[in-house]
Amino acid sequence: DTAVSQTPKYLVTQMGNDKSIKCEQNLGHDTMYWYKQDSKKFLKIMFSYNNKELIINETVPNRFSPKSPDKAHLNLHINSLELGDSAVYFCASSSSGGETQYFGPGTRLLVL
């Protein structure tokens, strides 16, 4: 069984479009995260939710809006996509202690 899943795996779109990425975890964790990994493999935290409450909100353009409908799901909506948004986006989850994080397979976003 997949622990942390993301859809879609690949996303190719035009500048200016709006897109969403979905994440689901079946580990029973109550903390979930979104990371952005750039072409140089640098991993940057974007957001984190604990029990559906936003607890980490890094310096991210407000075109990015996370939403957690329940503890098992964390979605990321991106408005007005720009070329610089091209990256791999990873979802992760952990228990409330937040020690070990479990990562999804990533969503590869390419903005043309």
Partner: protein, 112 residues
């Protein structure tokens, strides 16, 4: 606040040779330390972690890391690498709260 420095961006090594991937951190509080591995086109997976107790921690596939508080280091070592160890390795530190800080990554390339 915490920070992590991985001193080598790339480490090429021949198969069956020993390897060390270096990691230094800074923090004003007690920390947890991690090494994650990312194989091509996959998400990150936990390799090993130091939470407390013995300063030498080991993974199931032969890697080990030693927490050195005086040198603020958590270097990763393996006495004999395999082709299958080729991957990106991330050192990470977590202090209080939910945020985990990842290093920039070290690309380990094992050559036959």
């Amino acid at each position: 606040a915490q920070s992590v420095t991985q001193l080598d961006s790339q480490v090429p090594v021949f198969e069956e040779a020993p390897v060390e991937l270096r990691c230094n951190y800074s923090s004003s509080v007690s920390v947890y330390l991690f090494w994650y591995v990312q194989y091509p086109n996959q998400g990150l997976q936990l390799l090993l972690k130091y939470l407390s107790g013995s300063t030498l921690v080991e993974s199931i596939n032969g890697f080990e890391a030693e927490f050195n508080k005086s040198q603020t280091s958590f270097h990763l070592r393996k006495p004999s690498v395999h082709i299958s160890d080729t991957a990106e390795y991330f050192c990470a530190v977590k202090g209080e709260g939910f945020k985990t800080i990842f290093g920039a990554g070290t690309r380990l390339f094992v050559k036959a």
